[in-house]
């Protein structure tokens, strides 16, 4: 089966804007599912609310498109009741880190055996571009018209601290690395969290002098630094450019996990 | 015949358990009907704790205790909070060393805690001594039924101690009833 065979063709066209990064993330995730050889009848996609969370609706498996922020709690029920299912959660920065923040840390703590892919576009996209907990300081959004004044969450580091067995971060530019990271996450028992920095040209780029899709992708790519390099520079006491974020595998470990297939 | 029994003492004495044991004896082993209720509060240790039981030969409709005809009081605070309004024809068993006051109704003084401490060596079974005395004094349930209910309710390994406490309670109850 090729990745395209996982799509519900009768649901197309999709709702994503031209140049949206979510399609790339969905493709990479489905390529990982292919790589894993998962059966369609044993794979369940779960999501909350937001642009990211519409993804399961386009995939031809059992899928649960739930309420805002609660996807991980629903997914915990699915996986704990039927550990033989492969459970993948699509979420976004608002869904996961704002309204769903508590479920996020507890799902990581429990280390429930599922894969969580977060499309972090640093904005509430579906509602028209309001500031989220990952909107960088100074960024313009409809609710931060003078520039965001709050510090942003580092979602991947949050997942590491909360106990997830596998945590990686890539961008919508790093297609191969992203696919490999999602695959590795699926192979790792316990909760795998993959954060993807992705572009929202419509509601983020437009307000932040990144008017074209290539400009936005280039902006994300150029601020990504391999975690190994970041650690080396930090150890050497060398300066890290402002706005830099790490990419790569942040943790892979084997804390006790729940809901692992028996 | 409907009986309403109220137990009170301080948290940690096994007051609620006493009510549960009495209800269990009536409902499971004497073929009667029983409803056990209690006041829920933070009184796991200390404070005035209260548990009560309605026992009847017929199904119990109104489940609450409104005006008890039998009291078992094991602390002064318990008496003040739950025992002062006892009606005149009620019967009250009192742990004589722990309750200073005496009610207007008939009262039997049972030295349950002292007995548990000295004769049985474990203060914790004072409530079982009291249950024994209650059954001997009022015959509200049969001795066989209460014995089975006690055995159902106590931790494994403490059965002998508890049965000894119960029987000691029977004796104290009989003695207290003698004029």
């Amino acid at each position: 089966m090729s990745a395209s065979e996982w799509f519900r063709e009768d649901r197309l066209p999709h709702i994503y804007c031209t140049g949206c990064g979510n399609g790339t993330v969905i493709n990479c995730t489905l390529a990982a599912v292919e790589e894993m050889g998962w059966k369609r009848d044993e794979t369940v996609f779960v999501s909350g609310i937001g642009c990211s969370s519409r993804a399961p609706g386009y995939i031809l498996t059992d899928s649960l498109h739930t309420t805002h922020g609660r996807a991980l709690a629903f997914a915990t029920g699915v996986k704990m009741a039927r550990p033989e299912f492969n459970v993948v959660v699509f979420t976004g920065d608002g869904d996961l880190a704002a309204i769903g923040g508590n479920h996020f840390i507890h799902a990581c703590r429990r280390n429930v055996d599922m894969t969580v892919v977060c499309m972090n576009n640093q904005i509430y996209g579906m509602t028209g571009g309001q500031g989220s907990p990952t909107t960088p300081p100074g960024a313009i959004s409809t609710t931060t018209p003078y520039g965001a004044s709050e510090p942003a969450f580092d979602l991947a580091e949050l997942a590491v601290a909360a106990g997830a067995n596998y945590v990686a971060r890539w961008t919508s530019y790093h297609v191969k690395e992203l696919t490999k990271a999602v695959t590795t996450g699926m192979q790792t028992p316990g909760l795998a969290f993959v954060e993807v920095r992705t572009q929202c040209p419509t509601n983020y780029g437009r307000h932040n002098k990144l008017r074209t899709v290539p400009a936005m992708i280039e902006h994300i790519r150029s601020h990504a630094m391999l975690v190994e390099k970041y650690n080396r520079l930090t150890a050497e006491g060398k300066p890290i450019p402002e706005g830099t974020f790490t990419v790569g595998e942040l943790v892979r470990r084997s804390r006790p996990a729940m809901g692992v297939r028996r | 015949m409907r009986h309403e029994v109220r137990f009170s003492g301080y948290g940690g004495q096994g007051i609620i358990l006493s009510a549960v044991i009495l209800g269990r004896a009536a409902a499971l082993y004497d073929g009667k009907y029983a409803v056990q209720t209690q006041v829920y509060g933070p009184e796991a240790r200390g404070g005035a704790s209260m548990g009560q039981v309605v026992i009847d030969d017929a199904p119990i409709l109104y489940p609450e205790v409104a005006d008890p005809d039998i009291y078992v009081i094991m602390s002064q605070q318990g008496f003040e909070k739950y025992g002062t309004r006892a009606r005149e024809d009620a019967v009250m068993l009192i742990d004589a060393d722990l309750v200073r006051s005496r009610p207007a109704c008939r009262a039997y003084e049972i030295p349950a805690t002292a007995e548990a401490k000295t004769a049985l060596g474990r203060e914790i079974v004072a409530n079982i001594v009291m249950i024994g005395a209650l059954v001997a004094a009022t015959e509200i349930v049969s001795r066989e039924a209460i014995e089975r209910a006690v055995l159902d309710s106590v931790p494994k390994g403490t059965e002998n101690l508890n049965i000894k406490a119960l029987k000691r309670g029977f004796e104290l109850g009989e003695r207290a009833c003698k004029p």
Partner: protein, 360 residues
């Protein structure tokens, strides 16, 4: 056995194999019993981070085909409301137990109330219908929990056991049958769409793993389960069906007791206050006092009121300031008098006798 324990035993007897919950007085003994018993019964108990997560996990488990339940009280019930709407919208069979305590807000954690009777019917946003059962004894905590699972599956609807602190915490003798009959949801027929209803308005159920690739969404959806959020007709068709499938089955779902149908003065009760009314009737054998005792309050069985053709007045003792009394008032021409009581204690027989003498 305690009422809350009997509820858990009823759930286990009914085949409940998933419990997601959060501790809250006065319902906690249900979670504690499930925590002890479920793993040994091949089920899953999970203590979630809050009540939003509890009901979410229950709905997730229900979609794997497991009979799933949660138990809570007022504050937790309030937190569950959004996902209760989700369960109604997605037609997820599940059981929510609310051992009611005094509210609003934190209120009286250890005292009884019946203050959430409208919340269980109208608490989530939008139009929908649910089923709510009201036990008045420890035995009914068992029996009606079993029945709640049955109704949830038959009608594919979140079903509430609306208990109160009195029945939750009291202990009485319970008879537990060797086995109980459990109906499963009607399976999704080959060739049918996942949300295509039969003549009763209820779709067949294809839990995850059935090979039907069901998409479940809280958005307004068509019979395929696909979002269709702007077509007025699609929304009207779906939501009207969600309400009608329950309301049109009122007689099939109804469960009530009638005493002294010839009486002119009739008590209407549900839950714990019914026990006081039964006591009053028992204590006044020569007096003709009617009693309609509801074991199902939603959907409201208005036809049951017609069982008292001579009724001149209906009296409604409730542990709130008058909730279900409004529902009765809406269906009869006779005066309907609320006998409200809040604070945590059951109406005493004397209180009801004086109300009776005042209003008959």
């Amino acid at each position: 056995m305690q009422g809350n324990t009997a509820c858990a035993e009823g759930a286990l007897a009914a085949g409940c194999r998933f419990f997601g919950g959060y501790p809250i007085t006065p319902s906690t003994e249900i979670a504690e019993t499930m925590a002890r018993r479920l793993p040994k019964a091949g089920g899953v108990f999970i203590s979630m981070e809050d009540e939003l997560a509890s009901i979410a996990a229950v709905i997730g488990a229900a979609w794997t085909g497991a009979r799933a339940m949660t138990a809570t009280s007022g504050p937790g019930f309030s937190l569950m409301m959004e996902n209760i709407g989700y369960a109604a919208m997605t037609e997820t069979p599940c059981v929510v137990v609310n051992v009611q305590r005094g509210g609003p807000s934190t209120g009286q954690p250890t005292r009884a109330a019946q203050g959430d009777m409208f919340q269980c019917r109208f608490g989530s946003h939008g139009d929908y219908s649910t089923i709510a059962l009201t036990p008045n004894s420890v035995q009914e905590m068992f029996d009606l929990t079993v029945k709640a699972f049955d109704l949830a599956d038959r009608f594919r609807v979140p079903t509430f056991l609306m208990a109160d602190e009195i029945v939750g915490h009291m202990r009485e003798r319970v008879t537990i049958p060797d086995s109980v009959e459990a109906t499963s949801p009607r399976p999704l027929a080959e060739g049918s769409l996942p949300f295509e209803a039969n003549e009763n308005g209820i779709p067949g159920f294809a839990p995850f793993g059935s090979g039907r690739a069901v998409h479940v969404t809280g958005l307004t959806h068509d019979e395929r389960g696909y979002p269709d959020t702007t077509d007025p007709e699609a929304h009207d068709r779906l939501v009207r069906r969600l309400v009608t499938k329950i309301e049109s089955a009122r007689r099939a779902i109804a469960d009530y007791e009638v005493m002294n149908p010839d009486a002119e003065t009739v008590f209407v009760t549900y839950g714990a206050p019914s026990r006081t009314v039964e006591q009053v009737i028992h204590d006044r054998p020569g007096d003709s006092i009617g009693h309609l005792r509801l074991r199902v309050v939603w959907p409201f069985p208005e036809f049951a009121l017609k069982e008292f053709p001579n009724a001149k007045v209906f009296l409604m003792p409730e542990l709130n300031l008058g909730q279900m009394v409004r529902e009765v008032q809406r269906h009869v021409d006779q005066p309907v008098v609320a006998i409200p009581k809040i604070g945590g204690e059951l109406h005493t027989p004397a209180e009801l006798v004086s109300a009776l003498e005042e209003h008959r």
